[in-house]
C-alpha cells in the first residue's frame, strides 16, 4: 500500500484548457489524472448525438486526449479516471481501446467501464411504482414533464470506480459519476479505506470538491489579491497529494503559474456550497465546518481535521427535459447619452413586439456596461458612459414567436436611436432550452456495473 498518492485535476469542466491534462502528466510526478466532463445538461447533448449516431454519445475530446497522453501514462503507471463516457460508456471505452492499439499498447493496459447510471428507459417503471422523482428545488412530480424528458441518470459514487481500479484498470471511464467520486475512488483503492470510515471518505470527498473545478483553486477566478497572482497565462492545475490517514495537501506542479494559498483554497471550498454541515454525496455526508487549513510552504496548503457522517439511502438523479426556446439579441450604443439611447431602443423594440402580438414567458433587458451583473446595486451609470450594450432576451414555448423576435433586432440600427453598432454576427440564434431536473431515488433501485476490458 502506498502512503501517499498525487491526484491531478485535468479539466474543471467540459471545454476547459485543452492542454491542461497533458501538462499535468508531463510537468511533474502524478499517480492519477482526474477528468470531469459532465455539466448538468451535458447528458442531453450526448443523448441527441447518440440518437443520430449510435457510436456517439460520449465526450469525443477524450479520445484524442488519450492518444496524446496514453503512452506516458502506461510508461509511468499513471491512472486516468474520467466521467467521459456520457450516455455511451462502452462506445467511449471502445474508442480508447482502438487508440491504445493504434499506439502499439494493445495488451499493455486494461480499461474499466462503469455503467448503471442511465435510467432513461426505466423512468416509466419508477413512476408506475410510485417513485415520483420530484424536483428537489420545486417539489413538482416528474410526471408534469414526462413527455419532454431527454436524459435521466443517477449520480454514481466512488464505489464502482474503486472496483474497476481493484481489477487493474489503468483507465476508468464512467457515465454520470460525481466529480468528487473521481478523486475519492483512487484514495479508497490505494489506501483500502473501509466503506464506513466516514471521516476519511469525507476527506477524500472534500479533496475532490477542491480540485474538481480545475484552476479555480490554484489562482484562477481568485479574488484575494488577484492582481498579484503570478503568471496565470501558465496557470498550474491543482493536485491533491493524499495520505492514507485522510489528510491531504493541495498543490500544483513546480514552475507553473497561479497560486495555491489558504485564501485560494477557501474560495473554492465555499463555491457552490449549500448547507456546509451536510454536503451529500453517494459515498458519505461531508461536514465543511470541520475543515482545517494550514500553510505548508510555497503553493502548498495542508487540509486536515475533516469529519463525515454516514451516507444517505438515496442517490441524486439528473434529468434533462425540453423546456421551450430562447434567443438573445444585442446592440451597442456609443457616447453621448449611450445609456439613454439603449433604453429608448428597448422601449421601441418592446412596442414593436407588442404590436406584433408576440407573447413570451419571459423578456429580460440588460445594459451591459451599466448594470447587467449587479443590477440595482450598480446605481445609475455615469452620464458620460462611453458605450453600453443593450441585451434583450426572450423565452417561451412558441418557437415561431422567438424566431420572429430575432428579426426585430438588426432593424433597430436604421429605425431607432443613433450611434449604434455591434451587429456583425447576424440574427440571434434560436436555442432549444434543455433544462435540468434534480431528483432523488432510493439507492436500492440503482446497481452500478463494472466491466474491465483488455486494450
Amino acid at each position: 500500500m502506498k502512503e501517499k498518492i498525487r491526484i491531478a485535476a485535468g479539466q474543471g469542466f467540459w471545454g476547459d484548457l485543452p492542454d491542461a491534462p497533458v501538462r499535468q502528466v508531463e510537468e511533474g510526478p502524478i499517480d492519477y489524472l482526474m477528468l470531469d466532463y459532465l455539466a448538468e445538461v451535458t447528458m442531453s447533448i450526448m443523448q441527441k448525438q447518440k440518437a443520430r449516431d449510435p457510436k456517439a454519445g460520449f465526450a469525443r475530446d477524450f479520445v484524442p486526449l488519450m492518444k496524446r497522453i496514453l503512452p506516458a501514462c502506461v510508461e509511468r503507471n499513471i491512472k486516468v479516471v474520467a466521467n467521459a463516457g456520457g450516455v455511451n460508456v462502452a462506445g467511449g471505452a471502445a474508442a480508447v481501446r482502438d487508440v491504445a492499439r493504434e499506439l502499439g499498447l494493445g495488451g499493455k493496459l486494461k480499461i474499466g467501464i462503469v455503467t448503471g447510471d442511465d435510467i432513461l428507459e426505466r423512468v416509466d417503471s419508477f413512476l408506475a411504482r410510485g417513485i415520483e422523482l420530484r424536483n428537489m428545488d420545486t417539489d413538482e412530480p416528474l410526471a408534469t414533464v414526462r413527455d419532454r424528458i431527454q436524459s435521466a441518470n443517477a449520480y454514481l459514487g466512488a464505489a464502482p470506480i474503486v472496483e474497476a481500479l481493484d481489477q487493474g484498470a489503468q483507465v476508468v471511464i464512467t457515465g454520470r459519476a460525481t466529480d468528487t467520486g473521481l478523486t475519492l475512488g483512487p484514495m479508497i483503492h490505494e489506501f483500502g479505506w473501509a466503506g464506513d470510515d466516514w471521516n476519511k471518505l469525507a476527506a477524500g470527498t472534500i479533496a475532490g470538491h477542491i480540485i474538481e473545478c480545475g484552476a479555480q483553486c490554484s489562482g484562477g477566478n481568485c479574488q484575494y489579491e488577484w492582481e498579484s497572482i503570478p503568471d496565470l497565462a501558465n496557470v498550474g492545475f491543482p493536485i491533491a497529494e493524499a495520505s492514507a490517514d485522510g489528510t491531504f495537501v493541495i498543490t500544483k506542479h513546480e514552475g507553473t503559474g497561479g497560486r495555491v494559498s489558504i485564501p485560494s483554497v477557501k474560495e473554492q471550498l465555499v463555491y457552490e456550497m449549500g448547507d456546509p454541515r451536510g454536503y451529500i454525496t453517494p459515498d458519505c455526508v461531508a461536514d465543511f465546518t470541520t475543515v482545517q487549513l494550514a500553510d505548508d510552504g510555497p503553493d502548498r496548503v495542508r487540509v486536515f481535521g475533516i469529519k463525515g457522517k454516514p451516507a444517505t439511502d438515496t442517490l441524486k438523479v439528473s434529468i434533462s427535459y425540453s423546456a421551450g426556446y430562447k434567443a438573445v439579441g444585442t446592440l451597442v450604443y456609443a457616447w453621448p447619452d449611450a445609456y439613454e439611447k439603449a433604453k429608448a431602443a428597448d422601449k421601441i423594440l418592446r412596442a414593436r413586439l407588442d404590436r406584433l402580438g408576440l407573447r413570451f414567458d419571459q423578456i429580460l433587458t440588460e445594459y451591459v456596461g451599466a448594470n447587467a451583473t449587479h443590477g440595482p446595486l450598480a446605481g445609475e451609470p455615469p452620464p458620460d458612459l462611453a458605450e453600453v450594450q443593450l441585451r434583450v432576451g426572450v423565452r417561451g414555448n412558441d418557437r415561431n414567436a422567438i424566431e420572429r423576435f430575432t428579426k426585430e433586432i438588426a432593424p433597430l440600427i436604421l429605425t431607432g436611436p443613433p450611434a449604434v453598432t455591434g451587429f456583425a454576427g447576424g440574427r440571434p440564434k434560436v436555442e432549444e432550452i434543455v433544462a435540468y431536473w434534480p431528483a432523488l431515488i432510493p439507492k436500492a433501485e440503482i446497481t452500478a456495473r463494472v466491466e474491465v476490458i483488455e486494450a
Binding site: 428545488d137 474560495e267 465555499v270 465546518t289 419571459q362
Partner: protein, 114 residues
C-alpha cells in the same frame, strides 16, 4: 464609521438551479466576528432587493472565517432557463462586497480600520 465589505472580506459565488450561493470570507481572522454580527441574512436580503425574490439562508463556517449565503429565486429560473448574462450567479460575490456596514469608531480603531 461606515465601511464597505470589500475592505473586510473576499468572496466567491456560484449557482444551484435558481439559487445563488455566496461564500463570504473574512480577509483577516479578527474581522470574522464583526462580519457574523453585521452581515445577517436579513441584511443580505435587503441588499439584494430587486435581485433576490426568495428567502436568504445563512450558514457559518468559523473554521474558515466564512459565511455561506443561499439566495433563493435569484437567477431568473436558473441554468439554461435563465436569460441573464450572469445566469450562474458568478458575480454575486462582488455584488455582496458592495455592502456598507456600520462599525463603532473604537472597534474600527482596534481592528486597524481607520
Amino acid at each position: 464609521m461606515q465601511i464597505q465589505l470589500i475592505k473586510l472580506a473576499h468572496a466567491r459565488s456560484g449557482d444551484k438551479g435558481d439559487t445563488a450561493n455566496v461564500g463570504l470570507i473574512a480577509l483577516r481572522d479578527e474581522f470574522y466576528p464583526l462580519i457574523v454580527r453585521e452581515v445577517t441574512a436579513a441584511r443580505v436580503k435587503e441588499h439584494f432587493k430587486g435581485i433576490c425574490q426568495g428567502k436568504v439562508e445563512r450558514f457559518e463556517l468559523p473554521n474558515l472565517g466564512a459565511l455561506n449565503f443561499l439566495l433563493h429565486e435569484s437567477l431568473g429560473g436558473g441554468g439554461t432557463l435563465s436569460l441573464m448574462t450572469d445566469a450562474q450567479g458568478k458575480t454575486f460575490s462582488t455584488a455582496l462586497l458592495r455592502m456598507e456596514i456600520e462599525i463603532p469608531d473604537d472597534e474600527a480603531q482596534k481592528l486597524g480600520l481607520r
